[in-house]
């Protein structure tokens, strides 16, 4: 245990995701020895992020205004909605530059163990968006794990009633990888989702 402020800092840092007690201690001492300017910049960044960043009222992505950059962009196709778990998934899909539609961020996946049910996700907001009638296709891009699949199954059940096209991102072999290193589940799914080669 350290005295007063140092221990407080270590405790606060230790509460961050992915930071254990050892890392918290290392970061705390790094900050202690850093220039005041560097620390001030960090403090400003932290205050700003809480003060300025909000969540887009339409899609739930992080935004600096009422609407996020993507929802505010008229060039994005409003008939396509890609449903993801977290804002970081939006960033990942945006990097592909393949997708020209809009997003819907659920804020997690159904996981009863962690106390997350459908009502804790932004499913209601998604349904409200779909009732508008402009959406033709919903692409479900939740994580390919048990919770992500459960969420996808839950959504597709409701979405079917709304007569929109519902698709799920394909899962399978990573590009640039070796077939022999793929695990059986991935390889099995890749087989299920195989497609015809256009002649």
């Amino acid at each position: 245990m350290y005295e007063g402020a140092v221990q407080d800092l270590i405790d606060e840092l230790g509460r961050l995701p992915g930071v254990g007690p050892k890392s918290a201690q290392r970061i705390a001492f790094h900050l202690l020895q850093a220039d005041s300017d560097d620390v001030d910049r960090l403090v400003t960044a932290l205050t700003e992020v809480k003060a300025r960043v909000r969540f887009c009222t339409v899609c739930g992505n992080v935004a600096e205004a009422e609407l996020c950059r993507i929802c505010a962009d008229p060039r994005r196709d409003p008939s396509l909605i890609c449903v993801v778990e977290e804002p970081k998934d939006v960033v990942a899909i945006e990097r592909t530059r393949e997708f020209k539609g809009r997003y819907h961020v659920l804020g997690g996946a159904i996981s009863p163990m962690d106390g997350v049910g459908p009502n804790d996700l932004r499913i209601k907001e998604l349904m409200t968006r779909l009732l508008g009638g402009t959406v033709e296709e919903v692409i479900i891009a939740t994580d390919p794990n048990l919770e992500g699949e459960a969420t996808a199954a839950y959504l597709s059940k409701y979405l079917r009633e709304l007569h929109v096209r519902v698709t799920r991102l394909a899962s399978g072999l990573p590009v640039g990888g070796d077939l022999e290193y793929a695990d059986e589940v991935t390889l099995g799914r890749a087989f299920e989702g195989r497609r015809l080669i256009d002649a």
Binding site: I110, S111, P112, M113, G115, G117, P118, N119, I123, K124, M127, T128, L131, L146, E147, E149, A150, A153, Y154, K157, Y158, E161, L162, D183, E184, V185
Partner: protein, 345 residues
Amino acid sequence: MPLVRAGADQAVIRCAVVRDGRESVVELELNPGRANRARLNRSPLTRPRDILGTLSTVLFAPEDLALVKGDPAERRRFLDDLLVARQPRWAAVRADYERILKQRNALLKSAQPLLRKSERGRARRSASIVPGEDPTRAVDDALHTLDIWDGQLAECGSHLLYARLRLLRDLGPHLGTAYGAVSAAVTEAHADYRTSLSGPVAERIGRGEVPEAAQLKEAIRTTLAQSRPQEVERGVTLTGPHRDDVVLRLGDLPARGYASHGESWSLALALRLGAFALLRHDLGTDPVLILDDVFAELDAGRRTRLAELVADCEQVLITAAVPEDVPASLVGRTYAVTLGSVDPS
């Protein structure tokens, strides 16, 4: 026995494995309180479970008496461990099943007040499609979420069940042979699968048949639907491979409750030796057989017969507290372990 020496902060187990004529080095690093790590030929593996299958072993230990006398969980673990030893990919299916079960049980508990309001655990159609807009909606939401986990449980559970049934069918003859050899008795040993499912598919399993995975999946779904009122009431999943058992029989009598102490030992030993024979047949090579402190538990006749049975195994590791417990017919290198040091004796 603790694996990490008192005062040390980690233990490393290193062994050279010759498989298909190739030698590989397996290293396991045990870090108490932190993640254990595995290395194969000096390259670290991202998931320690990828090491599975590199070296196959069969362990027989005094705790194995619980296979015969203990809870169903012991026998399920025996089957599932053997599944993984035969085909390492089952480790992933098993882990998935455990997780689905935890999720489903968590849901049954947390949504219990809501689910109890539903009529016999079934959904009605509510007026609004938007979640949260209509009071009956909350009940339906909980039920729909439960349906989703039912689907996952049936999907994953049917694969696990199918694999166990096939395994038990393959193991049966080896178990019978091993029991005959160990006990020198005329009664025959059998292992029958007892499922928690109900209906025609369950009856087929009872007759020793192995239904298709798709039929098992349907049967799990049907039984889940039937037992839903009880599940909602009790807040746990009452159907699925996690509630199944293997009934061991000697002749017509169930071993649990009827077998003598000696017969129980023979049966436990026969299960392990049967597993050994099955792996030998599957892999085309002998697993390493480990007999941990077991000679002391067996009577003279069983000791001698066990020694004869293991004589043709490629590699057998035996531990004993008293050297005289090990039959003299077993020859090999011996080591004395005293106060943490290992010396050839």
